[in-house]
Symmetry: C2
Subunit: 311 residues, 2 copies
């Protein structure tokens, strides 16, 4: 039987192709078994879903706002887009890590040749140890990139179960030990009650406790702003407890005009663009195509939202 | 017989260890068979070398100024440090390429959250084709990094002989065709008479002729400033013929105060720091150690300078 799918608020050429290739047809919400929601948040999401909707596919990888809103219910299966954009986001994490070690903010703001001032302070990533806090889909996508760059990855996940390609994997309970053993850190975990402000003054002090080449390491956040205590971060940067930060997310987000972090030469800020729009539509359609096939075949969907875990 | 080596103007702890590990002893210039020159240029280099000096090891990978100065003679073997720093420089090339595609100059200069302005313009490296102009030691070191990032490398070298890991290799005579087929370009060749201003208006037009995701590609130069015509580059950036540039070298170098390139938001400039000082001493000592062993064993040295080829 042909799968009937509603796509709201609007479809894209890539999604139309995905439906076609999965032998699904586009219908209205009332006639559909599945809903593909293409909005980037829940603005305009239909409040009273027909009971005939068995499955809802969201476009976002992070779904905490959806869970907090109470929209995600237990009457059907909900899937996020976790994994759809991992490679693009992992690439941005590497860009921010290299950018922080190679002082790109300072250089981008310069209008003179600063070689005498910066050559001694620029660092290579090669030979460093980088802890990946939250080795989910995005965190795991970073590991081959870090390995190609001659870097050892220390993965931190809930269970401590070995992550492929990581030099070591440690359980979340040993986070501070992992930070103290590493040179740099990348935050890649989901935003949940358990990870809210996971990184505060104590964790930043651990990260900076083991300077290499005469300077403490840097912190990158491409996950969600609230994994990191912004006040503690600002203090640690001022005090030289860590030597730099690369942030694609912030708390609050957007980072307000006039915030001190905008002025610091050792902070590289991008406005939540790790997953570029130019690739998102295509990557989401490929992900949806796979889940449509799985749904039609009665197989387990990718990225099913677990309300208890909040992701 | 123990090899006698002079190290001028000053040695380092890493070099002392390298001599020790190669069973060489430090002597004065008059008693030495080999000279390790640790200066970054030829300032203070002894003009009348004793005829007993059979080999001179320089610290620089690029030796054009040495050749122009007339210091390099035919009475002994001269070696550069080509290859010693390749991994660090390749890493910087990737940092500048990612930084250009992800608009890091514009973001680093911002003091507000530019998501609406930049999200549509940021690009991922994944799926792009990058031409490496000059696939020597540094160019070849980039290929595994580009491959890990999901990118195809097109290598350009003198002969067109296949370079490992590159999707295709083309001879220097087909440079313009390679540029037209690629999305982005990295200049990694040596500075020689043949490569002087190799990239001008015509080559930039070829590079930009094939826009992907609605915009032409970017150019990175981590080689030597004079491979690139600065006036043509500035024009191409203004005219949107290419969409950005990442430059670790310039012509003239240092780039003068007040130069227009300093003001452009689509240009990422670093002051010739691709090979960070923090790693240079160590990398050079490892290279010297290998050449000391080869010299003692009567084997061919690494990076022998070829006066005819000028590198």
């Amino acid at each position: 039987m042909t799968l009937k799918v509603a796509v709201l608020p609007t479809s894209t050429a890539h999604l139309d192709e995905a439906l076609l290739s999965a032998d699904a047809v586009l219908t209205s919400l009332d006639n559909a078994q599945a809903l593909i929601w293409t909005g980037s948040d829940h603005t305009g999401f239909p409040r009273n879903l027909p009971s005939t909707i068995e499955w809802v596919q969201l476009k976002s990888a992070g779904v905490r706002p959806w869970i907090i809103s109470g929209i995600i219910d237990a009457h059907r299966t909900w899937t996020s887009a976790v994994g759809a954009y991992s490679d693009d986001v992992a690439e941005h994490a590497v860009a921010l890590l290299l950018g922080s070690l190679r002082l790109l903010t300072r250089h981008a703001r310069a209008n003179t040749w600063l070689k005498d001032e910066t050559w001694g302070a620029v660092r290579s990533l090669r030979g460093r140890r980088v802890v990946i806090v939250g080795a989910g889909s995005i965190g795991r996508a970073m590991i081959p990139l870090l390995n190609a760059l001659g870097t050892q990855a220390i993965a931190v996940n809930r269970s401590g179960r070995k992550v492929d390609g990581a030099e070591t994997t440690v359980a979340a309970g040993d986070l501070n030990t992992a930070l103290a053993a590493a040179d740099d850190a990348i935050l890649a975990g989901a935003s949940t009650d358990a990870t809210h402000r996971l990184i505060g003054a104590e964790q930043l002090a651990a990260l900076g406790s083991n300077p290499r080449d005469g300077a403490p390491g840097v912190l990158v956040n491409i996950a969600r702003g609230d994994l990191l205590d912004t006040v503690a971060l600002t203090h640690a940067l001022h005090a030289g407890i860590i030597s730099g930060a690369g942030l694609d997310v912030s708390d609050p987000e957007p980072l307000p005009v006039g915030h001190e972090l905008w002025t610091m030469d050792n902070v590289l800020i991008t406005p939540h663009i790790a997953n570029p729009n130019s690739r998102m539509t295509e990557s989401f359609a490929a992900f949806v195509s796979e889940n449509l096939r799985r749904f039609s075949a009665g197989r387990a969907l990718k990225a099913v939202i677990d309300l208890e875990r909040s992701y």
